[in-house]
């Protein structure tokens, strides 16, 4: 690709390339030319989407369609439950669960004979009907894609396609037509807030850093997505790496920084690869380096690898890690905007936050802030997972209700089970119950019901999950990830974890619940950084909303969900037992007695709750609870 000498030539290039987008944005309906986009995100790649692309390309060639049909990869469509996804343009046909061996049929039937492959179309579970096009799917109807605008639309490995969809236009406009203050003003006006957890206004952060005088300043992109169960940052980097590069440049221009770092998890090999490719292309096009687009603005970006420490999502810890040390947080102030990386003013923004920035500057703040709630503007990407039908990435306007996300977009609870709770905000968040499903979600409202936005993980829990066990899971996570610097977190959270363990083992009393609540509140007030302060949230929110379930554990010593092994009891239903003796033979501790063809009985004092009898009973006479 040729060097882009100035803003004008970028716009000219965009004009030449824009036809690529026309077919994908359904601006041309009737055309012989077709395009297939195959999801190339980590999820779909794990289900052989690479092989699928290979097969499709071979079939297209074999059938002499190469000049009329093109197949390439794209970023995550978000519908990960049904991957790999193949989308056909311009018809907007959306094939799901496509296997490599389906390639021949798609090419023969759809591309050559003009018939859709019915069996690969998505079936709407509520209507029991196949859906012909993507925009008719319930999963997409309420979604609005800004941060994910290019995922599923462009090939992330081609800078040309990014430019075709108005890529690098925003930075061009900024450095040639706007003063840095004007850029910051626009971002402030848009109401964009940090998407990584804190929700701090992005424009304000930039303004602080711009006002601090220094010859050297830094922009850091936080791509150390640590919340287990959230994968939006990874998907954006895999599906649209150029948007992050462009946004970092915009941030750099507005605060006066010339150097950026992307701090990325080493466990994200594909995202790293795509980002490296994008950086190389941007360099070659003269979009990174010195005198970008003929202006005085110079900027370059370096990749730094995380090494698996959740606490590095905290900005001061992240900075220490980039500096090559242990990723331990330090007290704020000083804020990084004042004294950050190597003591210089630094802005740390999360991937999803940055992904919004170019769109805001191309379309204007008022375009962005017309969606959302009073305090939270724009959209938010949620990683919907757990016991839900449509697991995937969804981007929705702020102010939507949880009910809409879980039932309309997510398709409801898996296997028709009962909804118990939804956990938002990852290890720092809390559980939300059915009574709050109609709360319009934004930063403040989620906080008000004892949870938080966090990075946007949304884990749906059903009746089969024990709430104490879930709280214990999160605590175990924060205990392992605690850096050990401050006592409330190092010792306090460990004690909390032990208390939860004791509850699941039936060794606690009602008084212990109060002690636990007090300890949790103390940690919240006294821990040094965000990790420690928010670690007790899963405990506090579940104590509030599921006190009865805790009580059942401590008073009656039962686990209503049947999860806590130590509290399980296995019973034989006399009416069902046929006396086949299989259970007593399977029991490793001889806890089951009974004669052939007579009802058997389990001795609870001997039973070790291994579940062997439960597994072998041919008539389901054994119940656990």
């Amino acid at each position: 690709m040729n060097r882009i000498e100035d803003y004008k030539s970028l716009l000219e290039m965009q004009k030449e390339l824009v036809h690529v987008m026309d077919i994908r944005k359904a601006k041309i309906g009737d055309t012989e030319y077709k395009e297939l986009l195959i999801c190339g995100g980590t999820g779909c790649m794990s289900s052989q989407s690479k092989k699928l692309l290979e097969n499709l390309t071979n079939e297209i060639e074999k059938n002499g369609l190469s000049d009329k049909v093109r197949a390439s990869i794209t970023g995550c469509f978000g519908f990960c439950e049904k991957g790999p996804i193949v989308k056909v343009f311009p018809e907007d046909v959306f094939y799901v669960n496509v296997k490599p061996e389906d390639a021949a049929e798609i090419v023969k039937s759809h591309l050559m004979d003009g018939y859709r492959v019915e069996r690969l179309l998505y079936e709407e579970p509520t209507l029991k009907k196949k859906v012909n096009t993507q925009h008719e799917m319930e999963f997409y109807k309420k979604q609005e894609r800004i941060a994910l605008r290019n995922c599923g639309l462009i090939n992330p490995e081609l800078i040309e396609e990014y430019i075709a969809n108005r890529g690098y236009e925003a930075i061009g406009k900024c450095i040639t037509e706007m003063k840095p203050e004007k850029v910051i003003h626009e971002v402030k006006l848009s109401g964009l807030r940090g998407r990584g957890g804190g929700g701090f206004p992005t424009g304000l952060k930039w303004e602080y850093a711009s006002k601090n005088k220094s010859d050297v300043k830094y922009i850091v992109c936080n791509a150390d997505e640590g919340d287990p169960g959230a994968f939006m940052d990874r998907s954006i980097l895999e599906g649209d790496p150029h948007s992050i590069i462009e946004a970092m440049m915009i941030a750099g221009y507005s605060i006066g920084a010339q150097k950026g770092f992307v701090y990325i998890r080493a466990e994200y090999p594909l995202a790293i690869k795509r980002l490296k490719t994008a950086l190389k292309q941007a360099m070659e096009a003269g979009l990174l380096g010195d005198n970008i687009m003929g202006t005085n603005f110079c900027f370059d970006i370096e990749i730094k690898y995380g090494a698996g420490a959740f606490v590095c999502g905290e900005e001061t810890a992240l900075i220490h890690s980039i500096e090559g040390g242990r990723g331990e947080p330090t007290t704020k102030p000083p804020f990084p905007a004042e004294s950050g990386l190597w003591g210089k003013p630094t802005v740390v923004n999360n991937v999803e936050t940055l992904a919004n920035v170019p769109a805001i500057l191309t379309n204007g703040a008022s375009w962005f802030n017309k969606r959302g709630s009073d305090t939270s503007k724009g959209t938010k990407v949620f990683a919907l997972a757990g016991k839900i039908n449509n697991v995937g990435l969804v981007e929705v306007p702020m102010g939507i209700t949880l009910r809409e996300i879980i039932y309309d977009i997510g398709g409801g609870i898996k296997d028709g089970k009962g909804f118990k709770a939804v956990q938002t905000g990852g290890p720092s968040g809390g559980c939300i119950t059915s009574e709050n499903l109609d709360v319009k979600i934004d930063y403040e409202s989620l906080y008000g019901i004892g949870s938080m936005m966090g990075s946007g993980g949304m884990i749906v829990i059903d009746d089969d999950n024990c709430i104490v066990d879930i709280a214990k899971f999160y605590l175990q996570f924060t205990v392992e990830e605690s850096c050990g610097k401050c006592t409330p977190c190092r010792v306090g959270n460990k004690r909390l974890y032990e208390m939860l363990t004791a509850i699941t083992e039936g060794k606690s009393t009602v008084e212990d619940l109060e002690t636990m609540r007090k300890l949790a509140e103390t940690i919240k007030l006294t821990a040094l950084c965000g990790l420690g302060q928010t670690a007790p949230n899963p405990v506090l929110s579940t104590l509030n909303y599921f006190y009865d379930e805790y009580l059942a554990h401590v008073e009656q010593k039962i686990c209503p969900a049947g999860v806590c092994q130590a509290l399980l009891r296995y019973f034989i239903t006399p009416e069902k037992c046929i006396g086949c003796t299989r259970c007593s033979k399977a029991c490793p501790v001889n806890a089951i007695s009974g004669k052939v063809k007579e009802v058997h009985v389990i001795d609870q004092d001997i039973c070790i709750k291994c579940g062997a009898c439960f597994d072998v009973c041919p008539v389901s006479a054994i119940t656990k609870g």
């Binding site: 980590t42 999820g43 794990s46 289900s47 990960c80 439950e81 049904k82 991957g83 997505e225 640590g226 919340d227 287990p228 169960g229 959230a230 994968f231 990874r234 998907s235 080493a266 466990e267 994200y268 730094k304 690898y305 995380g306 090494a307 698996g308 420490a309 959740f310 890690s321 980039i322 500096e323 090559g324 040390g325 242990r326 990723g327 331990e328 990683a383 997972a385 757990g386 016991k387 697991v391 995937g392 956990q423 990852g426 993980g457 884990i459 749906v460 829990i461 999950n465 879930i470 899971f473 999160y474 996570f477 392992e480 850096c483």
Partner: protein, 159 residues
């Protein structure tokens, strides 16, 4: 840490890598990544070597190595079984998958079988939550894994 025989060629390669870095003061984590790629783990000898080359005290290096979960000071087996225990996999019963691997291979998570064939590890989210529960063996991802699938997975890597 035990003293071990390590390949001199790998040390040479690591040395070349370190020499190629311009800003050595802040390169520690990158160097450790590279060293672990080469050696598979970070034994004492490698840490001391890096310390000398970067002019960083060994105590600091050990501090950094032990801080990050990605770095390991123990050698791993030929096949590393990583069970995802992120939240999405957890609520879809990843625990039982871990237990089954432990039972079948008679080792605990974090340990390596005596014949050096398998190591069991847990990791936090590979980001394929749609496929939960997920198991990664080396670079291969297995989605929607059931307890019954485990003997097959182990058998595939046992030759």
């Amino acid at each position: 840490m035990q003293a071990v025989e390590l390949n001199q060629e790998l040390f040479d390669e690591l040395e070349r890598y370190i020499d190629s870095i311009e800003t050595k003061e802040t390169a520690l984590i990158e160097v450790l990544h590279q060293a672990q790629n080469l050696f598979g783990y970070l034994p004492m000898e490698v840490q001391l070597f890096i310390g000398e080359k970067l002019n960083v005290p060994a105590s600091k290096i050990y501090g950094v190595v032990s801080f990050y979960s990605y770095f390991t000071t123990k050698p791993k087996g030929k096949n590393v079984i990583n069970v995802c225990t992120g939240t999405a996999c957890f609520v879809r019963n990843a625990e039982s998958i871990v237990k089954e691997f432990e039972k079948r291979l008679s080792i605990k998570t974090g340990e390596t079988t005596s014949n050096g064939m398998f190591t069991i590890d847990c990791l936090r989210c590979v980001g394929a939550c749609g496929l939960a529960p997920v198991v990664m063996v080396n670079d291969e991802v297995y989605g929607k894994v059931k307890v019954e699938d485990i003997p097959k997975i182990i058998a595939k890597y046992s030759e």
